[in-house]
């Protein structure tokens, strides 16, 4: 597969990743969120493999398999178990309505494009055009954390941000050293477990996972 085709495939996958990031912003149902997150992880791992092939960096293959195992299989499974144990089945409410969130998302994409244009001029890598998308994915993950009221969606937003950072690493510098990646992957796994434990605690204390309830924790005079 020639380099040019690899670059195009990478662009297509980047576009799909951006699409799933927007999908996470718009999706109302919690299983839909999980599925979208899994798809995002899948596209990410395929993209890593393609970049590994195009740039001739072998360690990216290992990262790709790691991403596949962790983000497509293990994490969604953990979250799935969490959702069943917590008994959440209804729709998620949002702080701002969905069209407004979409417009903010588009503004963030334009902003990140504008921000990364000097980097794009200077970079010589195959993946230079996807840096803007990576930054946009990070910001969209953060936007998702801001505009959602439910605790489980916040963790999905956090994980989406991490996806974006990983994608940025792949685009900007052909991935991080393998040791760093293994460390980060382990951290994510532990974070998922800790989140799960905390959710049970929150639920017992507040009887709901709506983060607005946590506003009760502030000091009242």
């Amino acid at each position: 597969m020639p380099i040019n085709f690899a670059a195009q495939l990478n662009s297509v996958l980047a576009a799909l990743i951006l699409l799933t990031a927007f999908g996470l912003l718009a999706q109302r149902r919690i299983y839909g969120l999980l599925h979208l997150f899994a798809w995002q992880g899948l596209f990410l791992s395929i993209s890593t493999a393609v970049v590994g092939y195009a740039a001739g960096q072998r360690h990216l293959y290992i990262s790709s398999i790691l991403t596949l195992a962790l983000k497509v299989i293990v994490l969604p499974y953990i979250l799935h178990v969490l959702i069943i144990r917590l008994g959440i089945h209804k729709e998620i409410e949002t702080l701002v309505n969905i069209p407004a969130t979409m417009l903010m998302g588009i503004a963030l994409v334009i902003f990140s494009y504008h921000l990364t244009s000097p980097i794009r001029e200077l970079s010589t890598l195959v993946t230079r055009s996807t840096i803007a998308i990576a930054l946009a994915t990070v910001m969209l993950g953060l936007l998702m954390m801001i505009t959602r009221k439910h605790a489980v969606t916040q963790i999905i937003g956090f994980l989406a941000m991490e996806n974006g950072l990983f994608f940025a690493a792949t685009s900007a510098t052909y991935g991080m050293p393998l040791v760093v990646e293994l460390g980060v992957a382990l951290d994510i796994l532990i974070a998922a477990f800790i989140f799960g434990i905390f959710f049970f605690h929150i639920r017992t204390t507040f009887d709901s996972l709506d983060v607005e309830q946590m506003a009760r924790l502030k000091e009242e005079d």
Partner: protein, 680 residues
């Protein structure tokens, strides 16, 4: 030796003659109306000819008239830009003057029309002079004549409180704008001569001056603020929907059709002619204001039940579209792209002419409806197409034009604006490349909403059945009103099917202002096709669309009518409910309800329902009361605070008026002592 300038001065003299005739003829109102309006029609025709001639040949003439103050004579100048606007003013002025002969006759017996006639002539004269003025002094005098005359025209039916209130609001906003324009001219004049001596007040001096960049920006934005207040750009548009509906309809046609355009003339003159170098972000600011006006204007128009208020808000939208064209032109010019800048400028100016034509037609139609039914509220009318066939057909042409449907003129200018948007990818700035297409999408939304608004306006007023409780005797309007409207409708059609001819004619304007020509590429494929850049890029042929539709429609009609089948008339489909009444039709409020639901967060909507239930059986509702109020957010966010602050300041300053003589004497005494100390 006849020159366009001689024609223009002749027309001003004709108006003067009309004004002289007024006291002589004021006894016989009918004769007064016929003579004065015929004279204004002649005057408009003269300026129309002068304008067409000037632009076609690209003539520039300047004169100095020795009126005015001793050292400050009036400078007048006729160049392609003023010629273009003279054409616009003259064309609509002629049509509305013919229309007014019949319309104003409707006021005879109710009130004396002398003041209407006098101020109408002054209004027209003021507008002619504004576009001819070549120095700040004469410009502002003509501007004031225009504003004052239109104030009295708006106040014509002054027995109603809301009319007086609307006129007062209009006056306040017009003067705030005039102050801003004055300050701007002062700044530019000062920069031209270094704040010494008086010669900087001529536009020529301002043209040749170089402005320091920050002061140029201040001058531009002051001028933009002032002219935007007159043009009705959001957020300074609040006077428009108050003032235009209460004025007599021929005056509303003039105000909406041409007075707003003089403000556009001001913006174009100041930016492209007086301040010649500007950075790109000015154009983007103008573009943003244009987009906001376009969208908000049409959304408010959709919520109206008063036909003339709907038309007034729609003017806000169209001014927004014109500003979009001008803003794009400024941006392209700042990036040194003369062809694209000419395209955008042509789109904006073409829309100016188009809007004058179709808005004039629509207001004249609304006036005809008002004349015949004495109803301005659409929800009390309906079914007028059967009683007023000519008016409805002509109003339909106006609605088709304003909704930007081929083959009429509104489509051509909006199409050119879209082409200018699509070409923004030629700009070197990546941020603009991404943001401008979003602006194009907003314009598309506004244009589609305009179509919806005019389906509502035409459908509720003319179609269906009469919704009102009273059944007045309705008949078609007289020949003069029909002629006025008919001429505007023909103009709409011609401007739609001969765009290449118009662009060839308008070339002189874009050459003068942005040094770029559109006509070479626009007609390059043949006069039938409008190809802004090249025919591979985009092309449109108005005549062929018209012929195609007419051809297919005729062929199908003839084929189907060959077999003579009978047509039966039957009652309406009522789904089994036999007691269907005209009150069950869709009203104007009902028609726009989905948009109110979807986009209502942009304005302040208060909907209330009160049900009076049966005293014994609570499930049955005896009477239902529904009230809807849609308000501009800007009243609460912008105008109310400004009004509150002004009153607060006024109250504080009012403390100076103590009422006792000693205190006033102390003021004088202290002032004298201070002056003696400081000016020793």
């Amino acid at each position: 030796m006849i020159s366009p300038f001689i024609l223009t001065s002749a027309s001003l003299f004709v108006i003067l003659l009309a004004l002289i005739l007024v006291p002589l003829l004021s006894r016989s109102q009918r004769l007064l109306i016929v003579s004065v309006f015929s004279l204004t029609a002649v005057a408009s025709l003269l300026t129309l000819t002068a304008g067409i001639w000037t632009v076609r040949d690209g003539i520039t003439e300047s004169y100095i008239i020795l009126l005015g103050l001793p050292d400050l004579p009036f400078h007048m100048r006729l160049d392609p830009l003023s010629g273009f606007f003279l054409t616009v003013i003259g064309a609509l002025g002629f049509m509305v003057s013919v229309y007014s002969i019949g319309y104003v006759k409707g006021f005879i017996g109710h009130r004396p029309v002398t003041s209407l006639v006098v101020f109408y002539s002054l209004f027209l004269a003021g507008m002619f002079m504004v576009v001819l003025a070549d120095d700040a002094f004469f410009f502002l005098i003509s501007w004031e004549v225009m504003a004052a005359a239109s104030y009295f025209l708006v106040m014509f039916e002054d027995e109603k409180t809301e009319n007086r209130r609307a006129a007062f609001l209009y006056l306040v906003v017009a003067h705030i704008g005039a102050i801003a324009i004055l300050l701007s001219f002062g700044l530019m004049a000062g920069s031209a001569t270094g704040f010494e001596g008086f010669n900087g007040y001529t536009f020529d001096a301002m043209r040749h001056a170089t402005f320091p960049p920050h002061w140029a920006a201040v001058a531009f934005f002051l001028a933009f603020f002032g002219f935007a207040a007159k043009a009705g750009v959001v957020p300074l548009h609040v006077w428009l929907p108050e003032a235009h509906p209460v004025a007599p309809s021929n005056v509303s046609a003039l105000m909406s059709g041409i007075m707003l355009k003089t403000a556009i003339y001001g913006i174009v003159r100041v930016t492209f002619d007086l301040i010649r170098d500007f950075p790109w972000w000015w154009g983007t600011v103008v573009l943003i204001f244009g987009l906001a006006s376009a969208l908000l204007g049409i959304l408010y128009a959709l919520q109206q039940q008063d036909l003339k208020k709907l038309l007034a808000y729609s003017s806000v939208e169209n001014i927004g579209i014109i500003l979009i064209g001008i803003g794009l032109s400024m941006t392209f010019a700042a990036f040194h792209n003369p062809v694209l800048s000419a395209l955008a400028l042509t789109a904006g100016l073409y829309h100016t002419l188009n809007h004058a034509m179709f808005k004039g037609l629509l207001f004249m139609g609304a006036g005809a409806v008002l004349h015949a039914t004495h109803e301005r509220n659409m929800e009390e009318t309906g079914g007028l197409i059967h009683k007023m066939p000519w008016t409805s057909a002509l109003f339909l042409i106006g609605c088709l034009s304003i909704s930007a449907l081929p083959p009429f003129n509104g489509f051509v200018s909006e199409w050119l604006t879209f082409q200018a948007f699509l070409l923004s990818t030629a700009l070197p700035s990546t941020l603009l490349n991404l943001l401008i297409p979003l602006g194009a999408a907003l314009l598309a939304l506004a244009a589609a909403l305009a179509a919806m608004c005019f389906v509502k306006a035409f459908g509720v007023t003319f179609l269906g059945q009469w919704r009102g409780r009273h059944h007045p005797h309705i008949h078609e309007v007289d020949w003069s009103m029909r002629t006025g409207m008919g001429m505007a409708a023909i103009a709409c059609l011609c401007l739609g099917i001969f765009p290449t001819v118009m662009i060839n004619w308008m070339d002189a304007v874009s050459v003068m202002l942005v040094r770029g020509k559109l006509s070479e590429s626009a007609g390059a494929f043949g006069w039938l096709w409008l190809t802004p850049l090249s025919h591979e890029r985009a092309s449109y042929s108005g005549p062929i669309v018209l012929l195609g539709i007419v051809g297919v429609v005729s062929v199908v009609f003839l084929l189907l009518h060959a077999r003579r089948r009978t047509i039966h008339r039957g009652p309406l489909w009522d789904c089994g409910f036999e007691k269907i009444t005209p009150r069950m039709q869709y009203t104007a409020t009902a028609f726009s309800m989905p948009i109110r639901r979807v986009l209502g967060f942009l304005f302040h909507v208060r909907e209330r329902q009160e049900a009076k239930r049966h005293p014994v059986h609570k499930a049955f509702i005896e009477r239902l009361r529904y009230s809807l109020r849609v308000r501009d957010h800007l009243w609460d966010w912008l105008y109310q605070p400004v009004a509150d602050v002004s009153f607060w300041v006024a109250r504080r300053v009012g403390r100076l008026q103590q009422g006792r003589i000693q205190v006033y004497l102390i003021y004088s005494f202290v002032t004298i002592i201070l002056l003696l100390v400081l000016l020793r």
